[in-house]
């Protein structure tokens, strides 16, 4: 039984007892008062009657007359006239008036009014005595009526007191909900902070738990910082902040292979042709500074779309992956112009190369073709050949038509890939969306149509369509399915409301639905994402972060949200066999994530040999071609 109920029962019992006691005392004192009033009345009337009899009664007829008049006009049940020797000489009596008072009440609270007795005499001669009895039914009536009124008033007062008590108990115990929520969250490794309430005991508990939360948070923060540093040391060129060669290759390859982002894009190469001379002429120190500022300027010059990667391939070679870009010449000019603005920028002799990539481009070929196309700056832009296997470009209007038809005719399909746990066990199914388009007769992957959907403002509709399909799929096959939600679904209140309503209609299915949110959205819009989690998680869905890579160092920021898992990007896990530093990083990440109650899943695992190692490092699941 809950604490509130128990307290409520105690309050009710106390109120009941006090009301009963008060009522009893009240009725008893009324009962005593009535009895003594009756007695006094009896006495007084008997005395008055005796007085007048003593003065006037000269013969028995007179006595009888006086008795009769008193009896007939008064409210007496019985009058006795006893002779000097105690013999009953005359008496008047009537039956007790019938009364509405229940018999049990008269038994419980009897009113025993003693008779009034007075002595009679005529001159010095004793005439005997009279005895006068009142009808107690009037007194019972009055006692019963006042008892009823009392009962009404007391029950009203009792109910009022009970209500007040309940309100007060609720108020006092309200912080208990916070305590319970915090304790439950703690069990799920979510670290909520609750404002300490005023009630002393609750305050102590909550303060203790808040301390625990803060301590855990700070431990997690420290660990995240350490991991972030580890990752940075291992992956980032300190002078430019660009990725080192291998890391860049890896990240760029992962980006190119991803099918849910742009399928096409550009790889730019910038080369400092005169690095040796610069070192000689202005000194190594100055050269380093020049390169550092140049790198900063490059970042500023180019569009900062998601998926853009910067790498330093060698001392003098810099590469930039620009997903979704098509024309290299304007970008090169832009880049060159801004590099020239740098102090001593004119000292640099730069060459530019570029290559287009498509969904199946290999990194080595891309870099080779970039190399081949290197042209000194000022020679104008390059005209690029489309890469082999690239999707032929469609005009925008065709894309709009494809999307609209797909939405209208439900042409979305889910490609199903299992997520495996230890020992090849099944965890859930990842379901990237496809359009099986009737417009162009092709199956289009998310990376192909999502950029267009984004441009046309259709992502919300697409997400909702996919969600509905996924729910149908979940209902049909009964397994858990992961889909991903885009920016609008997380950050746009109207769209979020639609998703919540859709999920609300399918509450029973919600526990088997996993919603992936890309790291950029989660970490760059933390407030919107927290709001999203607050709306979605109560419905029973699982929510996790996908493609976690750049923000691994900020993992601790996610705690308190109640997420279920993180999916580490392919770029982060693909070289796990070769690099011991990667292993260290992944092991640390798994520890931190587990401390936060998150499952860790590796994305895009291509080599079957990586799988046992990943589980050994602490992963809970893997997905990708190796386990498909």
């Amino acid at each position: 039984m809950s604490l509130v109920k128990r307290l409520w029962i105690v309050v009710a019992l106390i109120i009941l007892a006090s009301v009963l006691m008060a009522g009893l005392i009240n009725i008893q004192s009324a009962q005593r008062y009535l009895a003594s009033e009756l007695k006094v009345k009896n006495l007084d009337t008997a005395t008055a009657l005796a007085l007048s009899l003593s003065q006037n009664a000269t013969d028995p007829v007179m006595v009888e007359l006086l008795l009769s008049s008193q009896f007939d006009l008064g409210h007496y049940q019985r009058i006795d006239y006893l002779g000097p020797e105690g013999r009953l000489l005359a008496h008047r009596e009537r039956a007790s008036r019938p009364t509405a008072v229940p018999a049990w009440f008269m038994r419980l609270f009897p009113i025993t009014a003693e008779p009034g007795v007075a002595l009679l005499q005529s001159g010095w001669t004793q005439l005997g005595s009279i005895r006068l009895y009142s009808d107690p039914s009037f007194a019972y009536d009055s006692l019963w009526k006042s008892a009823l009124v009392l009962a009404q008033m007391f029950s009203l007062g009792g109910v009022l007191a009970g209500l007040l008590g309940m309100v007060y108990i609720r108020r006092v115990l309200r912080p208990l909900k916070g305590v319970v929520a915090q304790a439950e969250a703690l069990a799920e490794r979510r670290y909520l902070e609750v404002r300490p309430p005023r009630t002393l005991e609750f305050r102590l508990i909550i303060e203790a738990m808040n301390r625990l939360t803060q301590k855990t948070k700070s431990v997690l923060d420290d660990e995240s910082v350490r991991l972030s540093k580890l990752k940075t040391e291992h992956e980032i060129d300190p002078m430019t902040g660009f990725m080192v060669r291998e890391v860049f290759r890896r990240n760029a390859a992962a980006e190119i292979e991803r099918e849910d982002t742009h399928l096409q894009g550009l790889l730019l190469l910038v080369q400092i042709a005169n690095l040796e001379e610069l070192n000689r002429e202005i000194g190594r120190h100055q050269t380093d500074r020049l390169i550092s500022t140049m790198a900063q300027q490059m970042r500023l010059a180019l569009p900062s779309a998601s998926g853009t990667r910067y790498g330093r391939l060698g001392a003098s070679d810099f590469a930039i992956l620009l997903p979704g870009q098509d024309e290299s010449a304007p970008l090169q000019q832009q880049l060159h112009a801004s590099i020239l603005q740098v102090e001593h920028g004119h000292l640099l002799q730069l060459s530019y190369g570029a290559a287009r990539y498509g969904p199946h481009s290999g990194m080595s070929e891309l870099l080779a073709s970039c190399d081949q196309s290197l042209t000194p700056a000022g020679a104008g832009g390059l005209v690029l050949q489309p890469p082999e296997g690239a999707v032929p470009l469609r005009p925008a209007r065709v894309w709009v038509e494809i999307l609209q038809v797909a939405l209208r005719q439900h042409e979305f399909q889910l490609a199903l890939y299992p997520v495996r746990g230890r020992d090849h066990s099944y965890l859930n199914t990842e379901a990237p969306a496809r359009i099986h388009s009737s417009v162009c007769g092709e199956t289009l992957v998310a990376g192909a149509f999502l950029p267009w959907a984004r441009r046309e403002g259709l992502v919300g509709q697409v997400d909702l369509e996919i969600l509905v399909q996924t729910l149908a799929e979940v209902e049909r096959h009964g397994h858990a399915i992961c889909i991903n939600l885009g920016y609008e679904s997380v950050c746009d209140e109207v769209q979020l409301q639609r998703i919540v309503e859709t999920l609300d209609l399918h509450r029973a299915l919600a526990p088997r639905l996993c919603l992936d949110v890309a790291e950029d959205i989660a970490f760059e819009h933390p407030q919107a994402f927290a709001h999203f989690c607050g709306r979605i998680l109560p419905l029973g869905c699982q929510v996790g972060i996908e493609h976690l890579d750049h923000h691994v160092g900020h993992l601790a920021r996610l705690h308190g949200l109640g997420l279920h898992y993180v999916k580490l990007s392919r770029a982060l896990v693909q070289d796990v066999q070769q690099e011991s530093a990667v292993q260290t990083l992944l092991r640390g990440l798994c520890t931190v994530a587990h401390t936060m109650g998150l499952q860790v899943i590796a994305e895009g695992v291509a080599h079957a040999g990586d799988v046992p190692l990943l589980f050994e490092l602490g992963f809970d699941g893997v997905t990708g071609s190796a386990v498909a």
């Binding site: 003593s54 010095w124 001669t125």
Partner: protein, 222 residues
């Protein structure tokens, strides 16, 4: 159940009534009366109470007439007649036996009450004694006065003997033409000895007679 509740009710009464109730339940106890006299008024009064007890004890055996004679004489000789306003600074005050003995003074009611109580203690029947209001006309030309005497009836129908503080001789009613009875009473009509103590009952104080009866009982005299 009912009896339990009734007992509980008595418990409350006891709480409310306190010592007065306990005193009210007590039977006459002249040792305690004497102790009370000692603690309240000192040796002198206690000695006087002792004297009065000796007089009563000496009269336990003989017949009613002797008892009447000695009690009447005892009070008529020892108690001075003093008006209430002088003695008690009240218009009308009915004193208890102890108070009358302590003051050695009283008015007609105090005499009648003291004699009445003494005679009861000497073993006389209550039905034989009546405190009687009388109208007194001392002479043909004097104003009539209100007076109280104690009347003794040998039997319910016989002519009463009059114990009067103004007349040391006990005479039958026929020899007291100056007295006209108005109303007579004794404790039997008002007084219910037992577990219904009038002193805890606020209405009991209304009547002078009931009041003095309650005080008499509190002083262990009744």
């Amino acid at each position: 159940m009912t009896s339990l509740r009734r007992r509980a009710g008595q418990g409350w009464i006891a709480l409310l009534g306190g010592l007065v109730v306990l005193a009210g339940l007590a039977a006459p106890d002249l040792d305690r009366l004497q102790q009370l006299a000692l603690s309240r008024y000192g040796d002198e009064v206690a000695r006087r109470v002792g004297e009065w007890r000796n007089m009563l004890r000496a009269r336990q055996g003989p017949g009613d007439l002797e008892k009447l004679e000695s009690v009447n004489r005892y009070f008529n000789q020892r108690i001075r007649w003093v008006e209430d306003p002088v003695l008690w600074q009240q218009d009308d005050y009915w004193a208890t036996l102890l108070e009358t003995l302590a003051k050695e003074a009283g008015d007609c009611e105090d005499f009648a009450i003291a004699k009445y109580v003494s005679l009861l203690l000497a073993g006389m029947q209550e039905q034989q004694l009546r405190l009687t209001y009388v109208r007194m006309q001392r002479g043909p030309f004097t104003e009539p006065e209100a007076h109280m005497i104690l009347a003794y009836y040998a039997t319910p129908t016989s002519e009463p003997l009059i114990l009067d503080n103004l007349d040391d001789e006990i005479k039958p009613a026929s020899r007291r033409p100056d007295l006209t009875p108005v109303y007579a009473f004794n404790a039997s009509q008002l007084w219910f000895r037992g577990p219904n103590p009038s002193s805890s009952d606020p209405t009991a104080r209304i009547s002078r007679w009931r009041d003095v009866l309650a005080r008499l009982q509190a002083e262990h005299t009744l």
